[in-house]
């Protein structure tokens, strides 16, 4: 392992992370809910009465964030190297996996670890480990 010091952005990472933490705490204190994005979105698939508006508005908040950000600063385009085939497979795995696990990077990673939940720590360790393995296999073993 060698650290890529040119790519490493500690201050913006900490600042962005702090904003994410504030958002999660805001949502817990104001709405009484876990800001788990897969759960918030997944709940829209089988909507329950009175349960749609807050879920949809959280999603809208995420989607309009780039627009709001671009009012204050210039927005860099994301670099998406994956081809469409890989994106479709990845999306399917992320969709079904997060629903079985009842959470993703936000629900288990951010909120769960903040709540000192052992269940979320296990989930986070497994999806990070699987992510490390997937990147190792695709980049270094198969050279995709």
């Amino acid at each position: 392992m060698s650290i890529d010091w040119n790519a490493f952005t500690p201050w913006s990472a900490l600042a962005g992370g702090t904003l994410i933490g504030i958002a999660a705490v805001m949502f817990a204190l104001l709405n009484g809910r876990i800001a788990g994005i897969s759960g918030v979105i997944g709940g829209l698939i089988k909507p329950a009465r009175g349960d749609v508006a807050w879920r949809a508005s959280f999603a809208v908040g995420l989607v309009v964030a780039p627009l709001v950000y671009s009012l204050f600063a210039s927005l860099a385009r994301p670099q998406i190297a994956a081809h469409y085939g890989a994106l479709i497979v990845a999306g399917l795995l992320v969709g079904i996996g997060t629903r079985y696990a009842s959470g993703c990077t936000s629900g288990h990673g951010v909120c769960g670890l903040s709540r000192l939940s052992l269940r979320s720590l296990v989930a986070t360790a497994v999806f990070m480990g699987a992510g490390f393995a997937a990147v190792f296999l695709t980049r270094h073993l198969f050279g995709i």
């Binding site: 392992m1 650290i3 890529d4 952005t9 913006s12 990472a13 600042a15 962005g16 992370g17 994410i20 933490g21 504030i22 705490v25 949502f27 204190l29 709405n31 009484g32 876990i34 897969s38 979105i41 997944g42 698939i45 508005s57 959280f58 999603a59 809208v60 908040g61 995420l62 989607v63 780039p66 860099a76 385009r77 994301p78 998406i80 994956a82 994106l87 497979v89 990845a90 999306g91 399917l92 996996g97 997060t98 629903r99 696990a101 009842s102 993703c104 990077t105 936000s106 670890l113 903040s114 709540r115 000192l116 296990v122 989930a123 497994v126 990070m128 699987a130 992510g131 490390f132 270094h140």
Partner: protein, 144 residues
């Protein structure tokens, strides 16, 4: 009011993802690529978010209702089972394939990225598939 709080939470969450660089799959994959030139930024994003979350959730946990009067629905699940582990593993593989997890997928969709739209569409399809499998598992006839 709850809907507005939800919108604002989603917006701040999305801004955090943009500021931290996590809406950019190349940056996420730089973290997941331990064997390559490693970018530790994502670890600091998590550290920043969890530092805020530890304080915020410690406050939230003792409340019986949210600040807006909603019932507190913070997770109480503690079980570590196959669904959690296998679901997290599938999610992690998908995460490593494209560099997208649910939140950044939605934010990049808001940037007008067609590839992000493909990922999000597949993710929603994966969530629908989960509901169908759950329905079959429960043995209930389809309601449509």
């Amino acid at each position: 009011m709850l809907v507005f709080a939800s919108l604002l939470s989603g917006l701040v969450f999305g801004l955090g993802l943009i500021v931290s660089g996590m809406a950019n799959p190349a940056k996420v994959l730089g973290f997941l690529d331990l064997a390559g030139r490693w970018d530790p930024s994502l670890a600091l994003v998590m550290a920043g978010a969890v530092a805020v979350g530890l304080v915020g959730f410690a406050v939230a946990r003792n409340r019986s209702a949210s600040l807006l009067g909603a019932p507190m629905k913070l997770s109480t699940a503690r079980h570590i089972d196959r669904r959690l582990v296998f679901g997290s593993a599938l999610f992690g593989i998908g995460w490593g394939l494209a560099g997208f997890c649910p939140g950044p997928g939605l934010v990049a969709l808001g940037m007008g990225e067609v590839k992000a739209a493909a990922f999000v569409a597949a993710m929603l399809a994966g969530m629908v598939l989960f509901e169908l499998l759950e329905r079959r598992h429960a043995g209930a006839p389809p309601s449509t």
